[in-house]
């Protein structure tokens, strides 16, 4: 088999790999992207496509905000099938305790220049009439949006190809290291740097990285235009055991541009199979019905599962891998892969080129200790 020389070999043609391919190609690097038979076939195919600013930690805020702004800058170029809509998010507070969190978030975001609006109980009813009555209110974040990830990944890859990147779909990658990728059919590609953007499968290629599969379920309904207007997410997760290790569900509903409703979300650690887990699906949908009773009568047309790549401190791994100077990581994005893909690509390429970055990149370094070891396993 022929070996070819590239500046960067990217393993993974999901949203993160695609974004990295475009950024590297844009900055004149010779790029090869390698994956199985389908572009965006992993979490990119399974996830919600929610572009959302999050504030679980300052570094999470910095990365999501930076990336959200990059998506907003890109929106004019996005083709129709990417279905980008800036519908905004509403963080829903069910009671007074959660409403206090609304105020905390409002202060946090306002200090950092993110436009937000506090919604009273009445405001929330007007904004989303299908939510149950009697909720305390919510926080509207108008610059959040949604898109359709498989087409977004494809768009980014096509732009990368226009700038000379090549895509190699086929046998699985079995080994990466020392500037070489080897695939199951024996073929090899050589490059100056290798980027592991293989998401839930990244630990198979770089053993020892702290990424675990976190299974999720989603349900999509038939078309109900106008049923919901914003992506709705509950603040109730505050109450559940502050655990990163057990199964959990949360209310999360998205209006798709088609008028279909996308309903989530669930998280499980010890679930390695792709089959639908009836128990957790039932819990997830019961939770959704508690917030939006009218969902009960909607027609659910498909259910599917996917695996997020989760890290102990909820921050992705972006940067060099200490054990091999040719290997870089761009993985571990958990539920924020779509949101943070563009910023990840910027930071990753800055690392490759020794350039400075628009935000501090230490918190995402694969070599970080502290938070990775002290966090719950």
């Amino acid at each position: 088999m022929n070996a070819a020389t590239y500046d960067v070999l990217i393993v993974g043609a999901g949203i993160v790999g695609a974004a990295c391919a475009l950024e590297c190609a844009r900055r004149k690097l010779r790029v090869a992207v390698v994956d199985l038979s389908t572009i965006g076939g992993g979490a990119t195919a399974a996830g919600m496509g929610h572009i959302v600013v999050m504030d679980d930690s300052d570094p999470q805020f910095a990365l999501t905000r930076y990336s959200q702004q990059l998506w907003r800058e890109l929106r004019a170029e996005l083709p129709d099938e990417v279905e980008y809509v800036e519908c905004g998010s509403i963080w829903v507070a069910a009671d007074d305790e959660e409403f206090r969190e609304v105020h905390r978030k409002q202060a946090y975001y306002t200090e950092r220049g993110v436009p937000v609006e506090v919604l009273s109980s009445g405001d929330l009813e007007k904004a989303e009439p299908n939510l149950r009555k009697g909720l305390a209110g919510g926080l509207l974040v108008p610059e959040d949006g949604v898109l359709y990830p498989p087409c977004a990944a494809r768009f980014l890859l096509e732009k990368a190809q226009e700038r000379g990147a090549t895509i190699h779909l086929g046998p699985p990658v079995v080994d990466i290291g020392k500037g070489r990728i080897r695939r199951a059919d024996g073929s090899e590609l050589d490059g100056g740097a290798i980027v592991n953007a293989a998401g839930a499968w990244s630990p198979e290629l770089t053993p020892g990285i702290k990424v675990r599969k976190r299974k999720g379920h989603l349900v999509i309904t038939d078309r109900y235009p106008g049923f919901v207007h914003h992506q709705l997410v509950e603040l109730g997760y505050l109450k559940s055991a502050h655990s990163v290790s057990s199964d959990s569900v949360a209310f999360n509903v998205q209006p798709r541009r088609t008028g279909q409703l996308l309903i989530g979300s669930s998280r499980q650690y010890e679930a390695d199979h792709t089959e639908v887990d009836h128990g957790i699906l039932a819990r997830m949908l019961e939770r959704a019905q508690q917030y939006m009773p009218a969902l009960a009568e909607t027609s659910a047309i498909r259910v599917w599962t996917g695996f997020r790549a989760a890290t102990p401190d909820k921050l992705p791994l972006i940067g060099p891998w200490a054990e091999d100077s040719t290997v870089f990581l761009a993985t571990g994005h958990e539920g924020l892969g779509i949101t943070t893909s563009l910023a990840t690509a910027r930071l990753l390429t800055d690392h490759l080129l020794g350039a400075t970055s628009a935000i501090a990149r230490e918190p995402y370094l694969p070599s970080r200790t502290g938070s990775m070891e002290h966090a719950h396993a």
């Binding site: 038939d222 078309r223 109900y224 088609t258 009568e297 027609s299």
Partner: protein, 81 residues
């Protein structure tokens, strides 16, 4: 002589024999069942509850499969058009 059944299709009265499906009642009334994603009018294709082209609003429930539902007196049927 079995009792005829009266239903409304998009506000118009349609009288049918017992055992008539909602899809047949809609077709009698000259209504297509739904409008497709690109705006085309559509009617039943498979006649057996699989293709979902016969979806209509029946008594307020959207996306009801009209070919597998029998007319009941007083049913209020609305198509996409």
């Amino acid at each position: 002589m079995p009792e005829q059944i009266a239903v409304t299709v998009n506000g118009s009265l349609v009288v049918v024999a017992p055992g008539t499906s909602v899809a047949a009642a809609m077709m009698r009334a000259g209504a297509s069942c739904r409008t497709s994603v690109r705006g085309e009018p559509r009617g039943p294709l498979c006649g057996m509850g699989i293709c979902f082209e016969c979806r209509a609003e029946i008594d307020g429930i959207l996306h009801s499969r009209s070919c597998q539902i029998l007319c009941v007196a007083g049913m209020n049927i609305k198509t996409d058009a």
